[in-house]
């Protein structure tokens, strides 16, 4: 029998994987990929809670997360393309012009 805990643990694990990506990757593209993983991990959690508590609010949140992800991609990719055209690299370490 699969319980809510199963899903939540899965969600946590996926979230951790996403975090590994976020911390570890230096490539902007990969960073965005990792962000998507984070969002999806959260989505699973929401959907699972929605199911096991019989409440649709969780699904609603998941919908809005999907919408946010879509807009994030549109803007993020645009910025990335601009950056790549100017600098020829997507390495985060090359974006340090604002260091204090």
């Amino acid at each position: 029998m699969i319980t809510l805990s199963h899903y939540l643990v899965l969600s946590a694990v996926l979230f951790a994987i996403g975090l590994v990506g976020v911390y570890r990757r230096k490539n902007l593209l990969m960073l965005l990929f990792s962000t998507e993983i984070l969002l999806n991990a959260a989505n699973i959690g929401f959907a699972a809670i929605s199911k096991f508590y019989g409440d649709l609010t969780g699904q609603m949140f998941a919908f809005f997360i999907v919408a946010v992800a879509a807009s994030e991609v549109a803007v993020g990719l645009g910025l990335m393309i601009v950056w790549y055209k100017r600098r020829g690299t997507l390495d985060i370490d090359s974006m340090q012009s604002m260091h204090g």
């Binding site: 994987i17 019989g54 919908f63 601009v82």
Partner: protein, 184 residues
Amino acid sequence: MFEAIAFYTFSAITIVMFWITVTSKNALYAMSALAAGMIMISGFFFLLDADFLGVVQIIVYTGAVMALYAFGMMFFDTTRDVKERVRAPKLVFLLSGMTALVLVIALVAPILGDHIEALYPMKEGIENPQAVGIVLFTKYLVPFEVAAVMLLVAMIAGIVLAGKKMDESLTLKVEDEFTQKGAQ
């Protein structure tokens, strides 16, 4: 039983795919693995009776978001391996591991409790898309519209950012045009 089989299979595939995404040196691998993982996640949604969400996940994430990523990747050199200099890799795993541990503890421990009330309970006999529609267009109408506006804004931003002349400075460009017009 089916649910268990499906759950474990999907879990295994998803975790492996996402792990590939996170660790792969090749952007194309990462992208493909991520897309595969997204489809698997939609599988979870189907398991969780959130049919509509599952389909939206496929259409939006796999069909649109990942395709957009792929399209964006064509501007970069995707087949070349990504060169990265990872500092303090142990810290990365420590942090993520700790977070995962804490999350698991937080989620598995009976913190959530039973005193959660279903605000918008799922009713018997109403199919998922219909129920979603009802809630989405009554209680969540304003967030829904806001999300729509946000998407529109994001679209315009994307168009402006990725426009043809963006490798030059927009403001300088405008000034140039002014000077040209002045010259005429």
